[in-house]
């Protein structure tokens, strides 16, 4: 059996580890369009902070490819020929396969800003991959003013990572609050205050209307001068390789076996769209844990095993300067449970006997109990929900359920 994996990040690595659980012999080729050992993308901001070294950014140990008998090819796939079971690389090289995995990731989304082309290329950066971080790092110095467009997870991790190295950082976002995709107004407030206290400036509820060289003109006419521009508006799934080959909606559509609609072609990670177990909607959840689990699931099925994964949910864990937030699920339901104390904030979103989502700022202890209630769609009347709201723990489950979970009956 010949396995071909496009992508060398969480989805691709998950596929390798999934395949090797079943098939120790079959040849595995991984094609990566980056010239690096597998690394963890979310670590690029820590790299800029100087918190981790080059060795520690590796997502798997130095012997990963040798140990798993994987051939790593650095190249870019130009096209897939499913009828010939072959891909062709941009250099013309052909690689054939029996089972194909597409873990092609996502790319930064760049809105059509007026005047963006007038911003010199050497002053313009994305913050997505290792090269982005290394290039940005080279351009930084104490005299540079940085403008980041996008106050989401990527933009703010970038801001945290570079703050000490530059003259100033300003972050612009159309949304009225920072981290708007994962936090509500109350949850966003302590983070904004903390980041502002460290020196980051925000321009919220405003977008960039146009660029005039190294000046951004905002919607309300205010101008922000910058030396370095980082665009962190969002990401889009890399679906082009499977265009006209498999079903693509917003992302590549996969089922719970990580199969695409094309035979012998699987997909995982940021490039796919799948069902959110917390809402039932099919959507893109470009998050590392989902990518790995989808990849591993694909790998097991590619190698002839049996695996399903139908419990993907949105979940985020992130911290800035020591203040942490964890969130999961969807913020829907007609009922809320809220605790607020200082910077600490807990909000549970529930209704129809199910927990749908939560935000925990500050004390994140045992957050996984809540995540599990969302993931498993646990009927809230089967547990002591009043207790678990206040104090997440195994105590909220019935004795029988506890015996199963703690006594050896669970996964």
């Amino acid at each position: 059996m010949k396995y071909l994996i496009i992508g060398n990040s969480a989805g691709g690595i998950g596929a390798v580890e999934g395949i090797r659980q079943i098939d120790k012999e079959g040849g595995i080729t991984v094609i990566s369009n980056e010239p690096y050992h597998t690394y963890s993308r979310p670590l690029i901001s820590y790299l800029l902070l100087g918190k981790i070294t080059e060795d520690k950014r590796k997502y798997r140990g130095a012997d990963f490819y040798a140990k798993n008998n994987v051939k790593l090819v650095h190249g870019t796939v130009k096209r897939i020929y499913p009828e010939d079971k072959q891909v062709i690389l941009s250099g013309g090289e052909q690689v054939s396969y029996d089972k194909l995995m597409v873990a092609a990731g996502s790319s930064p989304f760049v809105p059509p800003f007026e005047g963006l082309d007038g911003v010199p290329a050497e002053n313009r950066f994305a913050f997505m991959c290792l090269d982005d971080a290394l290039n940005l790092n080279k351009a930084l110095d104490k005299n540079k003013r940085v403008l980041i467009v996008g106050a989401g997870l990527i933009g703010l991790k970038c801001a945290e990572g570079i703050l000490e190295k530059v003259a100033g950082v300003t972050v612009v976002d159309l949304a009225p609050r920072i981290l708007s995709s994962i936090l509500d107004d109350y949850g966003a407030k302590p983070f904004q205050e903390l980041l502002e206290s460290k020196g980051i400036e925000f321009r919220l509820s405003r977008g960039v209307k146009r660029f005039e060289g190294r000046t951004a003109v905002l919607d309300d006419g205010e101008t922000v001068d910058f030396d370095i521009l980082v665009l962190a508006v969002g990401v889009r799934p890399n679906t082009a390789l499977l265009k006209d080959i498999a079903e693509i909606d917003k992302g590549i559509v996969i089922n719970e076996k990580s199969e695409t609609t094309a035979p012998d072609i699987y997909a995982a990670g940021d490039c796919v769209q799948t069902v959110d177990a917390s809402s039932g909607e099919s959507k893109i959840m470009a998050l590392l844990p989902n990518a790995y689990i989808q990849g591993e699931c694909a790998g097991i099925n590619m190698a002839g095993g049996e695996k399903s994964f139908n419990k993907a949910i949105p979940m985020n864990a992130i911290g800035f300067f020591g203040l942490h937030v964890v969130t999961a699920g969807n913020y829907t339901g007609d009922k809320l449970y809220t605790e607020r104390e200082g910077n600490g904030y807990k909000r549970l979103f529930y209704g129809d006997n199910k927990l749908n989502g939560f935000i925990l700022v500050g004390n994140v202890e045992k957050a996984g109990i809540y995540t599990s209630l969302i993931r498993e769609r646990t009927p809230l009347d089967s547990i002591d929900f009043a207790l678990v709201c206040k104090k997440p723990g195994m105590m909220a489950f019935t004795r029988e359920e506890r015996n199963i979970k703690l006594g050896g009956g669970a996964v």
Binding site: K51, I293, H324, V364, S372, R402
Partner: protein
């Protein structure tokens, strides 16, 4: 019976000391095994070393790994993002006092064979054995 001795043995297992009372006196311990108690019921919760470990699969750095069925944390590789805290259905991975997350590692790093909490439990309520999983 809710004596919490396992929590103290756990905290002590991470120190170099030879005298538990001296090592932990005046310290607010942050053990890897934790007692839950309510209305006269109490039980200890620590890592189940799951066969399908969501903490390991979700770890963004590769700091959490499984070897011979035991899930351990490479503290040098952990960046304290807390994705594992968010993932663990038992609440058995927690922030530590010094950066990296912490979890029960069955005392494999202290090389004492039987975990300290098991040896220290006066009521033999904590056992160390492999059990078949439902799946």
């Amino acid at each position: 019976m809710g004596c919490h001795l396992c929590e103290y043995y756990c905290a002590f297992a991470g120190t170099d000391g030879s005298d538990m009372a001296r090592a932990l006196k005046g310290i607010k311990i942050n053990p890897r095994i934790k007692i839950e108690e309510k209305d006269g019921i109490s039980f200890a919760v620590s890592c189940r070393h799951c066969r399908e470990p969501l903490c390991v699969k979700g770890c963004i750095t590769g700091a959490l790994t499984v070897a011979d069925g035991v899930i351990t944390i490479d503290r040098d590789r952990c960046v304290s993002c807390y994705t594992c805290v968010l993932s663990c259905p038992y609440g058995a991975v927690s922030p530590s006092d010094d950066g990296a997350v912490q979890k029960c590692e069955l005392c494999v790093k202290t090389a004492e064979g039987t975990p300290a909490c098991v040896r220290g439990c006066p009521n033999n309520a904590i056992v160390f054995e492999e059990r078949e999983c439902a799946e």
